[in-house]
């Protein structure tokens, strides 16, 4: 990575303000980033970035890929950021510049409809709890379950988890409270959310730890602040989720 990349980045800089912002997303994450019947992306993230693009006077381009491909697109410099309800954690902060939090996702316990014995984390002790590999729940469970009394069952993705809860293979799982009702409705699975949120996930947009990354992050932060203040975020959240998570 010698002179060629340096010259490339210096020329990048000149028209950096005109270049499109490229963003990766899965396109298969309900309400945040979905692919509609016409094959077009829609969702909360899409609306937010369309607005950010307008305000920064930059074109927005989307790249879809599976998880963790969307993250690697960022690492390999193909995209500028990732918009797909990415949770901020200390570990991830080492690797990326994150924007300020733009969304809080509360996570609740989900159990089978017939289960009436679980209402809080304490009720999970000695029970089987299904978690996804990319859940950030782990960072919270060090505190919530310091003695490791819960039996954790990990899954690669969420496909089978609600079904296992409904069937009784799992006692519970955690689900973003934004999604519980839709999943229940669309899948017809006999599950329900119980108790208060166990934890909330702070979502932000990650940028590469480079000069350009920091620059763009700062610009986006500026816009996000505006959007929050002007109520755009609230309006968009209501449109997709029916409530404002920032409250």
């Amino acid at each position: 990575a010698g002179c060629s990349s340096r010259s490339a980045s210096s020329s990048d800089k000149e028209d950096a303000s005109k270049k499109p912002i490229i963003i990766s997303t899965t396109g298969e994450h309900a309400f945040f980033s979905e692919t509609n019947k016409k094959g077009k992306l829609e969702g909360f993230e899409i609306d937010v970035w369309t607005e950010i693009g307008k305000r920064l006077n930059r074109e927005i381009q989307w790249k879809t890929a599976g998880f963790p491909g969307i993250i690697e697109l960022l690492d390999s410099g193909r995209v500028d950021t990732v918009a797909d309800q990415i949770g901020i954690t200390e570990e991830r902060k080492e690797k990326y510049y994150f924007t300020d939090v733009y969304f809080y996702v509360p996570y609740r316990i989900v159990v089978a409809e017939s289960n009436n014995s679980i209402h809080s984390v304490n009720d999970l002790y000695g029970k089987k709890l299904g978690l996804l590999s990319n859940d950030i729940a782990y960072s919270y469970f060090d505190e919530l379950d310091p003695e490791q009394k819960i039996e954790y069952v990990n899954y690669d993705d969420s496909t089978g988890v609600p079904a296992d809860v409904a069937m009784g293979r799992l006692d519970a799982t955690l689900m973003s409270s934004l999604h519980i009702d839709t999943v229940k409705k669309e899948s017809g699975l006999k599950i329900k959310g119980v108790g208060e949120p166990v934890y909330t996930e702070d979502n932000g947009y990650p940028f590469q730890k480079t000069k350009e990354g920091k620059l763009l992050r700062d610009q986006v932060n500026g816009v996000l602040k505006e959007l929050k203040e002007e109520g755009f975020m609230k309006k968009t959240a209501l449109k997709w989720f029916g409530f404002d998570p920032m409250e």
């Binding site: 690492d75 954690t89 570990e91 690797k95 990990n154 899954y155 496909t159 069937m167 799992l170």
Partner: protein, 223 residues
């Protein structure tokens, strides 16, 4: 910096991945021996067109070879679970072994069939001519000769199987790859994780390949 690759993290992955090695190897070995056995049966039925069973076995091979494994696994583990209590209370470990065996035996039967086919007809006839029953000819004459031809293909399948155990993570079974995916989705250091996994798999499977080479060498010596 153009490349972000954190060596200490990369190194820290090795012991973590290796911890799950038993989970990978347990499923792989069980599934391999089960599927080898059934593959042998299927191959023999199909190569010698054994009446009554030929059609059934052809449909079996066709279905399991030609549909995606993930579908087979889901249908078995989630679909059939709705009608069978046994399956509903089955552990992911058992379910994974069953699904993998059912799938791989279809593929492996094709390798074995080709190998049986490579043995000259004269060997079979010679076996019959001294009074051996067809099954004995198969066991004592044909299979030992077919083995050296079947081994590379079977070894391909065993290697795939070893890696396929990762799919178990879809139904909650954790193998070596699962830990990579868990660890890296926390840190988002996927390259480090996958590279570590690659080296480990390479090391482990190299050992198996070495055994393959040795067996092949011994079997080929006399031809």
């Amino acid at each position: 910096m153009d490349i972000s690759f954190k060596i200490p993290y990369f190194i820290s992955m090795f012991p973590k991945i290796l911890q799950l090695f038993p989970e990978t190897i347990k499923v792989a070995f069980w599934a391999f021996f089960l599927s080898l056995f059934f593959a042998l049966v299927l191959a023999i039925i199909r190569q010698y067109k054994i009446k009554g069973l030929y059609f059934l076995s052809s449909v079996y091979v066709s279905f399991f070879r030609e549909t995606p494994f993930i579908g087979q696994l889901f249908l078995f583990y989630y679909g059939f679970a709705q009608v069978s209590k046994t399956i509903r209370s089955m552990s992911p470990f058992t379910a994974l072994i069953i699904a993998l065996s059912a799938n791989y035996c279809a593929f492996m039967s094709e390798d074995i069939r080709a190998a049986l086919n490579s043995v000259e007809k004269g060997q079979y006839e010679a076996g019959l001519s001294i009074g051996l029953k067809p099954l004995s000819v198969l066991k004592r004459i044909i299979l030992p000769q077919a083995a050296r031809i079947a081994i590379p293909g079977l070894s391909n399948n065993f290697i795939s199987l070893l890696k396929s155990t990762a799919i178990g993570f879809m139904i909650g079974y954790k193998d070596m790859m699962a830990i990579v995916s868990m660890e890296t989705s926390r840190s988002y250091r996927f390259l480090e994780g996958y590279t570590a996994a690659m080296l480990l798999y390479w090391g482990i499977i190299s050992l198996l390949s070495y055994i393959q080479t040795q067996i092949e060498f011994r079997l080929n010596r006399i031809y």
